[in-house]
């Protein structure tokens, strides 16, 4: 693909958008720099042009104009993504949805909220709180990330174990296609006619269209929530305790694990009252009706003790419950304080493989000489190893990336996946070649072409080209075989 854009073409390009007000256009380089990267700051690129439209018609006009000029488009929500999905292009438009920040309608009877894509995740729950309702998916970044970005990444959160991911909690989206057409996918009923395009678009990382409106499902707030903190002297025991809770037929609202390094970092940062001598802690939230919670708290406490917990605490007040969670929710920035840089991985594995995978990560950590803090969604096997490194030390970032790649391949080898919620983006593009074979990748490209035949929406992300896999494959021999033997090596 050849892109037409050159710096000098900028005026010509903008002349094709006569109805876009000046304050929606960012062309100065100092201002464009704010859009250089998303939450994965190790990857940076100056966008050619940043546009911040205010209306759906403007989005349609921009996309149509990009289509006819052959200019690629990268959508951006709040830029908190952790896989470089919103990384801009030197020759493309960065389309920010930041100005689409209005809640359009709250339908209490049908428990739906219709919002613009730039609305922050937490703002939805805040707006519907007065009706006794909330929006369940709660990524740790929920004060900042946008609902459009959540849909594009199929974001998860602490409460997804019981209440599902973004895909389970949205009802309808409005999508602007690369032709500038406005489509409604899904609906306000529980299903829609035709293919489940709502599911397909969820997690499509801005490669299939621009989301300009989202209708989310709301849930009644549980009558009561209670959180238990359990300490263990051994990570493996904590892992086994997770399995025993689920096997007992209890689905906690959240079930999170933190290891020694993250406990320490979080404790130093927010003073959550975590036991500093523990090798691992589990945080288990139980919610539901009042009697059900009492019953489950009792059962879970017993299970934790019989799994070898050295200490089991139940939050005595709502304030203490919030404090227990505060340490977990602040874990990433807390780790950020103890290391110049950290690199967050996102593999998901079958729960039973937890002990084995945690052990191997520890071994790799020693081998690479890079510490790892583990803080993750234990209940659904979604790991977030944080590799601590210093980007200013020559070669350390490269070593970190290689270590990260090994972790992802480890996840695949135990029957898991390279990404549970952060997306492939730019970051995990090579590991996609390990997870999927050539025919599967080709099917992905064919689906992409059904939406965007010219490949102008977020090119280079999420799905690797076969050529890229051939290049990657020349370094990584998988299962004794080179992937894509028929493609020429670079």
């Amino acid at each position: 693909m050849k892109y037409a854009a050159q710096m000098s073409d900028l005026d010509t390009f903008l002349a094709g958008l006569p109805d876009l007000p000046d304050h929606c256009v960012v062309r100065e380089s100092e201002e464009r720099r704010a859009y250089e990267c998303d939450g994965l700051s190790a990857y940076r690129r100056m966008p050619w042009l940043v546009l911040l439209p205010e209306t759906v018609e403007q989005v349609q006009a921009i996309v149509r104009h990009c289509q006819s000029s052959g200019i690629p488009v990268v959508a951006r929500g709040a830029g908190t993504g952790l896989s470089g999905g919103a990384l801009p292009l030197e020759n493309g438009v960065l389309l920010s949805l930041a100005k689409f920040n209005r809640i359009l309608d709250i339908d209490v009877a049908n428990r739906l909220a219709r919002v613009q894509p730039g609305v922050r995740n937490l703002a939805i729950s805040e707006a519907v709180d007065q009706h006794g309702l909330y929006y369940a998916p709660d990524p740790s970044s929920q004060i900042a990330c946008s609902i459009g970005g959540n849909v594009a990444e199929n974001a998860g959160g602490v409460h997804c174990l019981k209440y599902g991911l973004t895909v389970h909690n949205i009802s309808e989206i409005q999508l602007v296609t690369i032709d500038g057409e406005l489509l409604t996918l899904g609906g306000r009923a529980l299903d829609a006619a035709g293919y489940d395009l709502l599911a397909l678009l969820t997690g499509s990382e801005g490669l299939l269209g621009i989301i300009v409106e989202v209708t989310v499902k709301l849930l009644p707030k549980p009558e009561r929530a209670q959180v238990i903190l359990a300490a263990f002297d051994d990570v493996t025991k904590a892992g086994a305790a997770v399995g025993s809770i689920i096997a007992a037929g209890i689905i906690p609202a959240g079930l999170e694990m933190m290891d020694k390094l993250s406990i320490q970092a979080a404790e130093d940062f927010v003073h959550a009252g975590y036991p500093l001598d523990a090798a691992a802690i589990l945080l288990c939230e139980l919610d539901g009706t009042s009697e059900e919670v009492s019953e489950h708290v009792f059962k879970v406490r017993e299970l934790l003790k019989s799994s070898g917990a050295t200490e089991v605490r139940t939050a005595k007040s709502d304030a203490e419950r919030v404090r227990f969670w505060k340490g977990r929710k602040a874990a990433f920035p807390a780790v950020g304080r103890i290391s110049p840089d950290y690199y967050c991985m996102d593999g998901t594995i079958p729960r039973k493989a937890l002990p084995q995978v945690l052990q191997t990560i520890e071994d790799l950590s020693k081998q690479y000489g890079l510490p790892v803090a583990n803080v993750f969604h234990a209940g659904d096997g979604n790991l977030h190893p944080l590799i601590l490194y210093d980007a200013n030390k020559p070669g350390e970032l490269e070593r970190t990336e290689e270590f990260g790649g090994r972790i992802l391949e480890l996840c695949i080898s135990v029957g898991g996946t390279i990404t549970g919620e952060h997306g492939v983006g730019m970051e995990k593009i090579n590991q996609m070649c390990t997870q999927f074979n050539e025919a599967e990748l080709q099917q992905f490209h064919a689906v992409k072409a059904a939406f965007d035949p010219g490949g102008l929406l977020n090119p280079g992300k999420a799905i690797p080209t076969l050529a890229r896999c051939a290049e990657f494959g020349s370094m990584h021999v998988h299962g004794g075989q080179l992937p894509f033997p028929e493609l020429e090596r670079f």
């Binding site: 339908d107 895909v167 293919y195 599911a199 397909l200 594995i349 999927f436």
Partner: protein, 354 residues
Amino acid sequence: MSDADLTESLRAHVEQAFIERTPLNIHGARSRAFYGHATDAADLDISAHQGVINYEPSELVLQARAGTRLVDIEQLLEDNRQMLGFEPLRFSSDSTLGGAIASGLSGPRRPFAGAVRDAVLGAGVINGKGEALRFGGQVMKNVAGYDLSRLMAGALGTLGVLTDISMKVVPRPESEYTLRQSASQQQALERFAGWMGRPLPLSGACWHDGHLYLRLAGSEASVRQAQQALGDAKLREQPDFWLSLREHSHAFFTRSMPLWRLSVPPATPPLALDGDWLIEWGGAQRWLHSDATAERIRGIAAEVGGHATLFRGADDNCEAFHPLPAPLLALHQRLKKSFDPAGILNPGRMYRDL
């Protein structure tokens, strides 16, 4: 339950059909043959492709071949105090898993425990070129690549032959209780809307012929608590009431008149259409026996933000599924082509132009 992996022969069959441009009619037990349009094509029978590939109760995941009978899967789950959260509609004891996923028809629990597509974690799929592909996986969270396994749910086999499906399963509730109250349709819809906005342990909400039926499910304590809050009026006469909805064996479903399924926002007031109604999903799924024209029924469903399916009784004169706006239909056609370039997989089963 037998254990036979026929993936390779099914794949070879599709590949041959692709080369020869022979349309295929994919089927299992044919228990859903009435759903959608008949296709004039050579049969591809998947019912012998059977067996549970992987099931570990503590992982809450089950993977089985598409020809496996639903009753066998549900029995295995029941033996482990688990179940399929979406309670698939099951039209005969031979109904297969593949048919349940491809038709995407969920049972009474749908509004409370999610739909078929919500439970799908991964799938083996043979596309229209005869390539055996694998999407998704066996873990709860997976965003690598487009979500093509969920897309298969409800696609009626028009995008690929499902070979196996990995699903999330859920613990069986400790306790269940159905209460019955007399209510007009309008009263029932209002009560449902009120209850569904409260944190109650619900797992079914139906209205028919002057009565509403509400199923409570969860821990013993929570069911007891809810029962006290809602008033005691236990349904004793019809122990298989919910099963009769799942299997469409309830007397309502045995009429000969055309059967419509209207899917609308749940709190929508009663619709101005004459006929016999059975309301499910707390108002979100409404069954109607009516002789009204398709245009009228579809017009009314669309007006309230829903759609209408001619569930039984579709013929050449009427599309079974609600017609799509032209740009959306065009996108469906391109998507279909991306999986099935020769148009050999269940052509016309869903929409005549697809």
